[in-house]
């Protein structure tokens, strides 16, 4: 079995947009032996290159669906098919990111067998450092889930 890859996406100088990076920093302290941890800015081609050849990939990112800050969304893409809850494509305010990376990966046959997208609802993505309290709390919940010995829960949306 190959090692699991966890990719934290974001920019720590845009407040809650740094949640993916904060999660990786926090996970580095956990001494996970079977997991590789990397940071990415969110540029989709880099994401595709990063997960090419991997079996299981978890992506932690900030999202904006209009829900309460800190809400943890979970989407699972197995063998190129999303689970019963799929993130809508092409609704990004900047047309760029994880969903585009998944589509590019699909076209190029470069999707991992299992891709889990953990999205944390952001409250503040203005310039500046530090996470808002609900997002910081979500990092702890997320780290707990990712370090739990039991297999990850099945696809579905989970509230924080």
């Amino acid at each position: 079995m190959t090692r699991r890859l966890i990719i934290g996406v974001g920019n720590p100088f845009r407040h809650d947009d740094g949640v993916g990076i904060a999660a990786i920093e926090r996970l580095r302290l956990c001494g996970l032996h079977d997991t590789d941890l990397v940071e990415e800015s969110g540029e989709p081609v880099a994401l595709v290159q990063r997960w090419t050849g991997r079996e299981t990939v978890v992506l932690v990112d900030a999202v904006d669906s209009g829900g309460p800050a800190g809400t943890l969304h979970r989407f699972e893409c197995t063998k190129g098919l999303w689970g019963d809850v799929a993130p809508a494509a092409a609704v990004s305010t900047h047309g760029l990111g994880v969903l585009e990376a998944v589509e590019l990966g699909r076209v190029l046959d470069r999707l991992p067998d299992r891709l889990v997208l953990l999205g944390v609802e952001a409250a503040d993505v203005s310039d500046g450092v530090g996470l808002s309290p609900p997002v910081a709390a979500a990092v702890e919940a997320l780290v707990g889930e990712l370090t739990a010995p039991a297999p990850a829960q099945p696809a579905g949306e989970s509230a924080r």
């Binding site: 100088f13 947009d17 940071e39 999303w82 809508a88 305010t93 900047h94 047309g95 589509e103 076209v107």
Partner: protein, 435 residues
């Protein structure tokens, strides 16, 4: 995206996180173009304020976060400026290693822009994903080329995103001979792939257009410019040391934009590949110079739609340079020179893939930063982009908004301004007003 498996959907918006967010507002009154306003969000203003009061060794690490695509450019301009303020000189093999690292960024950033952002415009696709369906082998070549750049960044910079091995004075750790030797076969492949890239893009249908702007880039060195001490222009009217940059180039607030627009006291100007090439093509490595000639580039290139060809030529140059630098590498005595803080002002400039990037720092005697100024290439080019857009819109008023938007996006991408706004201009507004 449809899934056909009874899925329900939740709208999730990605968040902007790389340099720039764009909006374009075009007004057409009674069938005539009356206004073109480009608004690109610009993060450096925040970073300038954030850097004040911090230590003199922090800017390379902090400013690397300004752009996810060109962190090395921000790191190098920052290092050069701080070393200038402190009277430190980084030369010899340490400077060569920096150039090698920067070659990696050029390869990566240019490959991304050429293959994934700009080529679809020329070939009539709405983006890289649809282009990849029809041109998979070509896109795979672009991805592998980009990866060679990534590897250089990882080996010298410690990692590809937000390189951690760069410091004021040099590096924390030197690469081993073995690590550098391992890069050679892939770089040799990349040089061949880059030549194929030049041939590929030179065959694109390139619209005829010439900008009459002054072309400004680093100049006056003995190598094709990446880091340098002098700024020049094609007409020769601008020929200054980097330390005089802010005396001649001013940043102005423009009412419709968050960004500051760069203005040269001698007139309108642009930075980027066209300027670098037109000022310095004689300094290109022979293989790149030949590729340029074969692609039909003359000694000067003023057509922004041809920037894709110049970028491809620069990828050839960067691969060739990287191989030369690795071949000549001898490990320096230490990974960094000591940089002792002193009160003063320092200036640094380097050629980010998208154009000249200037940093200026004012440092107190204890190394505390008193003031920081960052002039990114995008702000310097914004005026020229608006000018080109006006030309393109006027020439295509008969098109519907969708087609006109595609033309505008293509025009903006000529300048590789930043990835987020260069990818999709979802916030494009065309007002057609009748009086």
């Amino acid at each position: 995206m449809t899934h056909g498996n009874g899925s329900r959907r939740l709208d999730v918006h990605a968040l902007a996180r790389v340099e720039g967010e764009g909006a374009l507002h075009v007004t057409i009154t009674d069938g005539e173009l009356t206004a073109v306003q480009l608004n690109i969000y610009e993060p450096p203003r925040f970073f300038e304020a954030f850097l004040r009061g911090r230590g003199y060794e922090e800017p390379p690490d902090i400013t690397a976060r300004i752009c996810g695509i060109c962190p090395v450019a921000y790191q190098m301009s920052a290092c050069l400026a701080i070393e200038d303020a402190c009277g430190a000189v980084v030369d010899g093999q340490l400077a060569a290693l920096r150039r090698l690292l920067y070659c990696g960024e050029w390869i990566e950033s240019h490959a991304l822009h050429i293959y994934m952002l700009h080529a679809p415009d020329f070939l009539g696709y709405d983006g890289a994903i649809s282009m990849a369906r029809d041109h998979r082998a070509v896109v795979e070549r672009g991805l592998r080329l980009k990866k060679v750049g990534n590897r250089l960044l990882e080996v010298i910079g410690g990692r590809a995103i937000h390189p951690v091995n760069v410091r004021v004075g040099g590096f924390y750790r030197l690469p081993s001979d073995g690590e550098l030797a391992e890069l050679v076969p892939e770089l040799e492949w990349a040089r061949r792939a880059a030549l194929e890239t030049v041939e590929w893009v030179a065959g694109f249908p390139i619209p005829a257009y010439e900008g009459d702007w002054e072309l400004v880039a680093l100049a006056g060195g003995s190598e094709y410019p990446i880091m340098g001490r002098n700024v020049g222009s094609v007409s020769g009217r601008l020929d200054i040391p980097v330390s005089e940059f802010s005396e001649h180039i001013h940043e102005e607030h423009v009412e419709h934009s968050n960004a500051l627009h760069g203005r040269w006291d001698g007139g309108e100007y642009v930075v980027g590949p066209l300027a670098r090439y037109s000022l310095n093509h004689r300094l290109l490595p022979a293989v790149a110079r030949q590729a340029a000639a074969d692609a039909g580039l003359g000694p000067e290139c003023r057509n922004p739609f041809q920037s894709i060809v110049v970028r491809a030529v620069e990828v050839v140059a960067a691969c060739d340079e990287a191989l030369r630098l690795i071949g000549e590498y001898e490990a320096p005595a230490a990974p960094a020179v000591e940089v002792v803080p002193r009160a003063g002002v320092g200036h640094g400039a380097s050629e980010a893939p998208r154009g000249l990037l200037y940093h200026r720092y004012e440092i107190d005697g204890d190394g505390t930063i008193a003031a920081a100024t960052i002039v990114p290439p995008t702000s310097q080019n914004q005026r020229a982009i608006e000018h080109d857009l006006a030309h393109v819109v006027e020439a295509n008023l008969q098109l519907d908004d969708l087609a006109l938007t595609a033309r505008c996006e293509h025009t903006i991408r000529n300048y590789d301004p930043c990835i987020s706004c260069a990818t999709h201009f979802l916030d494009l507004r065309v007002d057609r007003v009748s009086t």
